[in-house]
Amino acid sequence: MKVTPEVLAEVALTEEEYQLIVDKLGREPTLVELGMFGAMWSEHCGYKHSRPLLKRFPTDGPRVVQGPGENAGAVDIGDGLVAVLKIESHNHPSAVEPYQGAATGVGGIVRDIFTMGARPVALLNSLRFGPLDEPRNRYLFSGVVGGIGGYGNCLGVPTVAGDIFFDPGYSGNPLVNAMCVGIARRDELMRARASGPGNLVLLVGADTGRDGIHGATFASVEDPEKSHRGVVQVGNPFLEKLLMEACLEALRTPHVVAMQDLGAAGLTSSTVECASRGGVGIEIDVAKVSRREAGMTPYEVMLSESQERMLVIVRPEGLDEVRAIFDHYDLHFDIIGVVTDDGLVRVRDGEEVVAEVPARLFTDECPVYVRDAAESPVIAALRARDVRAVPDLADRDGAGVTPAEALLRLLASPNIGSREPVTRTYDSTIMTNTVLGPLMGDAAVLRVKGTSFGLAVKTDCNPRYGYLDPYLGGVHAVAEAARNVSCVGAEPIAVTDCLNFGSPERPEGYYQLTRAIDGMADACRALGVPVVSGNVSLYNESGDAAIPPTPTVGVLGRLADVRRHAGMGFVAGGAVYLVGPLEATLGASEYLALIHGQVAGAPPALDLALEAAVQRAVRSAIAAGLVVAAHDTSEGGLAVAVAESCIAGGIGGRFDLAPVLRANGGRRDVALFGEAGARVLLQAPPGGKAALEAHLRAHDVPFQHLGAAGGDALVIEGLLAVPLAALTRAWRGALAQ
């Protein structure tokens, strides 16, 4: 075969990588093999820049049943059950075709979960867009939200939580991270490890077409806009629903030894990974693969990313029983090959062998790169800027921006205001487990039928923190997601993460990646939460600019008694406290960006020991029934958090922030809208003041009484007084057309 730079560019391999393949194989690869190497050695499948860094995460813990390396992670939740979780990006497809890109992102993550033998019970999504006043961003936003709802609603898995952030850094490169949580019996958990030479390899579901060829490679190069539309797949949630039911039923028979969904790099990655994990070989015949269109080459069949397909490894004696299940659901399947004992992935086209490569060459021998890291001096200078140089808020009308004006503008900010226009389009009540759905609490809470416990889930990441200090960005992403889960009363037990970054081949990009991972790892250790699964999406760039570092974190929590949970809305009468430090900073704050147009300053430092103590105190207070409302204080600071809990509860309140003002040098802006970690608003039930205070003292966490809820206005003594209706109107309008 003649290998030209054009051929290598097509498969996104370097000259050196090509030479490595020749050396390892002892010959020139065939065209099919080269395409398979291109896909498997892409960043998306091969993690060639991130693999050494991911080892820094803690991945062990008493509840961990399956850590990273499988289709999804799994943690023990009690009563013989495990929760299975994973988050994954679909950024590049969504930048080109937002509806289908997002829809197939949901489809892919759901397959990762049921492949493990788990029933998917919850979907979340973490989304990033450029500002909505640019029509292209509005189009991407509407398309992505439509695709998520269109797929998830049809599938019948509730979409219960997520997060959305807008920043100019995402114009042209939106982020779509989809997360799914499933539940399985621990003893029925399935792994994607082929075994048993002679066992049959079945390809179930959709026919194979030319859609999505080179999708994995596409996700690993810069500037998706330059690529063409044909690489984006089209989703069919109706077929996925049948596939899900049939696969879960087939897995309950004793005949299925492994299952693997076809995602990025289609048949190539599914056969390679199944064989490699199982330490066996797989031989398939592409001529047996049902096609959507005529004239497809073996190369195209091996690299197609047609959706809603599963690879199922079945014992021959169980074939009839498995066939009956797929027939019941009107699903087509082909027997495309067998498991072998030679460790080779052998691809035939009828009689002709078109590829024959040891499976581990694709996986274990994928080259790994360590790059130079150096921080961008521009960002270092922005971080060093003195953000207190901005004028404080006015102390009277006519003397500049007043506290009330700033509060209303923050509530109307797309980064803070109501997500209801989005969440209203997602089915959040199907499956009858949703105890706290969208907008009801800091995280979603689900019951687990047949048990007394519950699960809590949330995604988070503040990319402005990550931009100004990637280490602190990583710390805060983990801390905030865990804090949100603690605020509904759950103990965080597992993390799944999606690392969205720019090119690692530039020193400043590699610096961001490494520092964010260090921050996440430190926070996970301090909070005692292992990383059990994840995904890496690099090369998120458009033109010359990389996205802000976005290490999205999904946290799963467990409530021992699901009835003991807390929402975020205040109720009439109960005393309200700030738990955690009084000191805050304007650095990297939403306030500074919105009111002063500056993305600058250092993000809040975080005392992880205090963070852990505050979260423990909060969730134990909720479990003890001492709390009626709990709300994390993050973007927008204390005043925004108080306003959000007032809006959620449909009630005003009267608060005195004098101690907070004093702790922040008398700065009204810092006291009201400065940001800090390890801070939570708690409300005691009416008459429950003494009990909650005693609890917080026993946990040795700092706390400050702020006031009580009541009335129809939010009053902060000496600083602002705004009718609840005005707050609610501003907040509700944030994402309106």
């Binding site: 949630p237 109706f238 009107d330 389009t425 997602y426 009858t432 105890v435």
Partner: protein, 236 residues
């Protein structure tokens, strides 16, 4: 009383209906696949929500041609109680077992939220024993739930007391804001003339436990336990 839950490829509310009957009503229940044509073992049928056949042509338009729907029509003809929820309601209108149609929501987007509905009549199998004027809190989740009937049909439905659920505010008042999809006359659910076949867009099967937001749905599902017996007696 034995319940059957009619299930098509793409149904996704079937499991919730099974759970609501099993855990909420504590009655025997089983799923019925769309190819089944023998419904003689059931005392009541639920056609659950979802996206039967992907809703690819029009919600409910393909499901109506399945073998099981002929058996459902015979079951209803004999006076057996049938409840169509969401996609099930759409299927019942497509099959001609209930009048009118469900159009795309006025706002053209899917809507998932909690609503209040007022019970307008207790002269059906699925509202028996309830008090007209009573307000229930139920979830909705649909893209094509805007009830429509031509003026003549609508007048007949209203005159006969076949409009049995109407969207209202928490106090039971019909307001423009309380109608989540632009349904004509704020109609959330209707019955056939005989009162044994009922269709509604809200999901009673998702409201069988206060822990998940409401147990008002049980009032609808359990109404048939007494009313259904009468219907069954009338059939035999």
């Amino acid at each position: 009383m034995r319940f059957g839950v009619i299930t098509f490829p793409g149904s996704n509310g079937d499991h919730d209906a099974l759970m609501a009957v099993e855990l909420g009503l504590r009655q025997p229940v089983e799923a019925v696949w769309y190819r089944d044509t023998d419904l003689s073992r059931f005392d009541a049928l639920i056609i659950p929500g979802g996206f039967s056949y992907g809703d690819y042509l029009r919600a409910g338009a393909i499901a109506r041609f399945t073998p099981v729907m002929g058996a459902v029509a015979r079951f209803a003809e004999a006076g057996g109680p049938v409840l169509g929820i969401c996609n099930g309601f759409q299927i019942l209108t497509e099959a001609g077992l209930l009048p009118g149609a469900l159009l795309r929501n006025q706002q053209l987007t899917f809507v998932s939220t909690w609503v209040h509905v007022r019970v307008e009549s207790n002269r059906t199998c699925w509202t028996a024993g309830m008090t007209p004027g009573e307000v229930l809190r139920l979830p909705i989740a649909h893209g094509e739930g805007r009830y429509y009937a031509d003026p003549e049909t609508l007048a007949r439905l209203e005159a006969n007391g076949q409009v049995i659920f109407r969207y209202t505010d928490a106090a039971g008042n019909v307001t423009p804001e309380a109608d989540p999809n632009g349904a004509v006359n704020a109609i959330a659910g209707i019955a056939n003339e005989r009162g044994n076949v009922v269709g509604l867009m809200p999901h009673p099967e998702r409201a069988f436990d206060a822990l998940i937001g409401s147990d008002d749905g049980l009032k609808i599902l359990s109404a048939v336990l007494t009313a259904g017996v009468d219907a069954a007696t009338a059939r035999s």
